[in-house]
Structure formats: structure tokens, C-alpha cells
Symmetry: C2
Subunit: 69 residues, 2 copies
DNA sequence: ATTATTTGTCAAGTAAACTTTACATTTTAG
DNA sequence: CTAAAATGTAAAGTTTACTTGACAAATAAT
């Protein structure tokens, strides 16, 4: 699964810290999501998508590897 | 957060076990999701939505309480 | 009414999301 | 060039999604 978080974030010139604050998680969480260390929870995914005004499916790109959990 | 899993599942006359098999989790997981014991992961949410041919946002209804994680 | 199917509960365990703190590296600005 | 801001790394801890197994209750079918 890939995400467009970094892409959308830079487009809007928002720092990781600002995004973290906006969706109420730590900066570490954003870093880890952007660097593929782990996957967002459903609610966090929703909050990030909402923040950028897109759908979850538009922000998070699922692929064949996502057959597993 | 509410889900329409039960609703869509009954509409299609699919058992919890069949859905569980289809999205590759245990029956317990489906029961717990339907009964609000916990929230699906992003990938599971995607697989369930895909299975029913709808978007995540259509299957999982976020509300104000989802400000927290 | 009795059996089979479906749904639910309980509890203990594993895995992964998220936090916290502290520090190191990279990028941007003056 | 140098300082500040932004990004990254590491590690230990908490919480929660998900599993497994065994058994109980409700619904449907014969």
C-alpha cells in the first residue's frame, strides 16, 4: 500500500508537524506513515483524507500485496 | 463509527463465515466488527468495501467521536 | 420438536498502530 | 557559512486489531 501523504502535504506546503497536529497524532506517526513503516488506522486514514479534502481511496493506494492484513 | 457490514451482508444473503473467508479473516473478526467491539484496519476495511463493491466511506460511517484515534 | 446452521460470548495470546523521549541528519534561510 | 527549521532514526512502552479455540444462544429448516 502506498500513500500520497507526502505528495499532498508538500503541495500544500504543510510540515509533518502541522499535519500531525491537525489530525491529532504525533509527528512520529506521520513520519512512519510517509516512510511506509506501518499503515494508518481506518480513523486516522479518514482524518488525513478529510484534511486534504480527498477520499481514503484517493489518498491510500491499495495493491495486490494487500491481500494479507 | 458505524458500519454497514451487517446491512450489506444480509442484503446479499452471505453468512459471517462466508464474508470472513472472502476477506481472509476469522469469523470472530467479522462478529466483532459488526458488533462494534473494535474498528477494522485500513486494509481490512478496503477488502470488505471491495467485496461489496462500494467505497470505504460508503461502508464505514465516520462521526464526530472519531476525532480521537 | 429436534436438528442444523448461524450468530454470539469469553478469555488468553500475538501482531501491529501509535506514543514518548531523545538525539542525528538534512534542508532551508538569513 | 551558520543557525534554525524540518525530517529522520531508535528503542521501550501502551493500546488495540486480529487470532484461536471452546462453548452457549438464537434462527432456520425439516
Amino acid at each position: 500500500m502506498k500513500t500520497r501523504i507526502t505528495e499532498y502535504r508538500k503541495e500544500r506546503k504543510i510540515t509533518q508537524e502541522e499535519l500531525a497536529d491537525a489530525v491529532n497524532v504525533t509527528r512520529q506517526t506521520i513520519i512512519s506513515l510517509e516512510n511506509g513503516k506501518y499503515k494508518a488506522s481506518l480513523v486516522l486514514a479518514h482524518k488525513i483524507a478529510q484534511f486534504f479534502g480527498v477520499t481514503i481511496e484517493e489518498m491510500f493506494l491499495f495493491d495486490r500485496e494487500d491481500e494479507n492484513l
